[in-house]
């Protein structure tokens, strides 16, 4: 068995104690995914597993054997950035950039959830299609903290790209 990271099959760590986060950063030399709190509280380590956003710091790498993992390094198409990456630059969606890989992976996962109809705690009618208002995006992105306070830029970048596609 193996993990599939950004399309490439890689071996899981020999020691089951290794988190997916540490395996990505130290075992596979993919340092784009960041370690903030290492206890589930900040979202900096967010990656996509089969399209779903998860926290790699609370994930044991061995548990993800056979799953498709996408990190920030896997989003660009060769030299062409993912539209959300470009939007983060255009909308000043970061300052120091530490939370950015997690924010971007999280937003892509969020858009997929909204498209599928997953409600949030703010959703009034639980049976209606999801409209990603600014407030809905704030709530759905609350698992990603930004110590620099770039949230307004982050939300603008999301609204200009992946959130706009949900409404369409």
């Amino acid at each position: 068995m193996s993990l599939i990271v950004n399309g490439t099959e890689v071996a899981p760590p020999a020691d089951p104690r290794v988190s997916l986060l540490d395996h990505l950063r130290e075992g596979l030399h993919l340092p784009g995914t960041k370690k903030g709190c290492n206890q589930g509280a900040c979202g900096a380590c967010t990656v996509l597993v089969d399209g779903d956003r998860i926290l790699s710091c609370l994930a044991l790498a061995v548990q993800y054997d056979g799953r498709r993992i996408t990190t920030i390094e896997g989003l660009a198409d060769d030299d062409a950035l993912h539209p959300l990456q470009t939007a983060f630059i255009e909308h000043d969606g970061f300052q120091c950039g530490y939370c950015t890989p997690g924010q971007i992976c999280s937003a892509i996962g969020m858009a997929a959830e909204a498209r599928r109809g997953v409600p949030s705690v703010l959703t009034g009618d639980l049976s209606a299609d999801i409209t990603l208002t600014r407030e809905e995006i704030q709530e759905r992105m609350s698992g990603n903290l930004c110590r620099c306070g770039a949230h307004n830029g982050i939300i603008n970048a999301i609204r200009a790209t992946v959130a706009a596609e949900v409404a369409a």
Binding site: R17, L58, P119
Partner: protein
Amino acid sequence: MTPFDYARPTDLAEALRMGAAAGAAYLGGGTNIVDLMRERLAQPSALVDVSTLPATIAETDGGGLMIGAAVRNTALAEHPVVRSRYPVLARAILAGASAQIRNMATVGGNVLQRTRCTYFYDAEGSSCNKRAPGQGCDAVGGFNRIHAVLGTSDACVATHPSDMCVALAALDAIVHIDGPLGQRTMPFGDLHRLPGDQPDRDTVLAPGDLIVAIELPPLRFGASSTYRKVRDRASYAFALISVAAAVEMDGDRIGDVRIAFGGVAPKPWRALTAEAALRGGPATAQAFRDAAAAEFADARVLRDNSFKPVLASRTLAAVLGTLTTGEAA
């Protein structure tokens, strides 16, 4: 983290066999146990991964739902039947943790997550009877704003942190268990224990017991239910107070009602006293407040949490007002 063996059983029988070994623990999404293992608050010698066992949400003959323990929190909250017949459950799940954590967390793991008492987590610096029986409890005389006011003992005042469980308590869920003692079911309300003088035991489960499924019986007025959570920030924080409720009106009287509180007790707190006070009576702000007062009559408040009975009363009035008249009372 103490070394451990990782095993991924392919079926229930294999999982039970592995889980029965001394020192083994089951692994759901890992969002609680991995953290506890890093802090050495859990030191299993083997983790038996039950997160990939077949997990479905199936309608039962009577119109209820059978939910496999490995179903992820997000999958349960987004299920069409949960959204339409048990909105209180969808809303409780969505009020908890973050989207990333809900995508990882399983139903079984959520039910068995441990307290968030800061003294419990502070193994280096604090005394805690839940972590180390007989050591004493620093929360009783310490910073206890987040702690419990009902069902506590001198040994422990920690709360059960789950939002989902508050809805399960209100819905009279049934827990399906398998393990060394065989298959059995129990009412959800019997699963978690009050601390008494044994606060290290959160539940009545025996070693090796696996939660296989959670069953929701049909609830005629389940569609008229909701969940409200009050916390220190608007999102991604544990509850100070939460209320799960379902109401059925009979003319201008309350025909039937289900209420459970979170954030107030060492277990999800089913409010049978408040329910009895309300059944057959008027749906007025005064009746809601009186019911809350009856439920919290025996509350033992601590230095920093005397606001909890008051906040619980206001939150209950807001929830029942919204369900009965469309407006918070």
